[in-house]
Amino acid sequence: MNPIELTTREMAAAIAQGALDPVSAVESAFERIDARESQVHAWAHLDRDAALAEAKVLSAERMAGKLRGPLHGVPVGIKDVFHAKDMPTLANSKTMDGSLRYPDSGVAAALRKAGAIILGKCTTVEFAGMGVPPASTNPWNSAHTGGGSSSGSGVAVGARMIPVAIGTQTGGSNIRPAAYNGVAGLKPSYGALSRKGMLPVAWSLDHPGLIARAAEDLELVFTALAKIKPEPVAAPGRWRIGVLRGFFSDKSSPDMAASFEVALGKLSASGMELVEMPLPALFAAHRSIHHLIMSTEMAVYHAPRIAEHRDTMTERHRIMAEAFALVPAGYYLQALRAKRLLQQAMAALFADVHVLAMPTTPDTAPLGLETTGDASFQVAWSLTGFPTTTIASGLASNGLPLGLQFAGAPGTDLLVIKAAMAAEAVLGRLTLPD
């Protein structure tokens, strides 16, 4: 058994059963990192010695019959906007002081409590926003971006370095890199995972998220990390899935559109009931609503950094934050009122279906590293705070992964994960690149 081939759930089970030692799991991860990191650049910080030391402690505990939690001995990565007590937080910005250490973020603490071993920090776009991207490349084709802003989290999982990583999403930053790397992702309900100790982009839109090898991993890790432990849910006897087209179909590339239809056909053939769902009228304004909220909150957060670190902040990020500071207060508040209406209108879509299905992205990962891709298919869900998952739906004609996205009503995270698991069982998982 090669640990790098295992899903999170398989690895955790193998460790719990004694079939795999945490030290072997961590050593395998670093062997894979050594082999691929120089090309894909998934990591902003790694601490091999600390990870191996922790693995030895966890190994001894397991041999003594103690398991800390459901992720005992599993190596993971966290996006470099989450504080971890023994690592720097740089957020891909020279304005951050790499010598500083902070207490564990809520997510890092929850991972450790569950027994996970944090190998290091995964790369991010500057401050997880729309600033300078990292050098991370797509493991399927290094000429393409690995996505972002949770770039390293997606790439590290897609490159089979680790079975699961933590990202964040304010627009489309967690689900999109998951899809671009051919793996599974979860953007939970707003507030479901801790934002404590996580550098914000926009407080009312920020979500910690998961990127993992398989949909079943999302259930295991989300349950382990959730602030309020969710009650287990059973999959429905027959899935009733609302299909969203309109905006999503109009923006999809031919490859994405074809992949979506093939996936829907397979799901229907498997017995799932598909229902065409119209989008509410207010949906047309969702990106504008999101833009004004995100811009205002981001500008306020970065105001002191612009003042104090003008020379070290990239011009790209500074100019953007300065422009965002010009949004009038009344427009911010009007956008927050519109958000409430949109939440109500979107929640009504779930009255008669379990989840909604749509393409995850308009197309595959773009060529080059200047942009990390198009977030437009995630923005509505980041704005409303509704949970979403993505799984791979196949490969495009250029050999890059495409994704299928599910959205659920607020608080139905496990149901949306179950939908991803059911769909993944029908569609299969991609064989990740060597």
């Binding site: 010009l326 009344g330 009122r337």
Partner: protein, 71 residues
Amino acid sequence: MRLKPPVSEEHAYQYLSLNAALVWGLGDAAKMDGHLHSIAAAMAEVSALDIEDSVEPIFGEDHALDPEDAA
């Protein structure tokens, strides 16, 4: 800046451009032109929304109040 009657994208852009020059200077204002256009478009769209008086803004959670995080 007024919310109602709805502002046009052009009107919003002029407002933002003038403020950008005033607040950040002409040099930076020119560099942020693309952002100003995108904000102006968003302002025009949000300005055109009809929202009943009873609708209040919805803010984010205060995670400092979460029991687990407060520890």
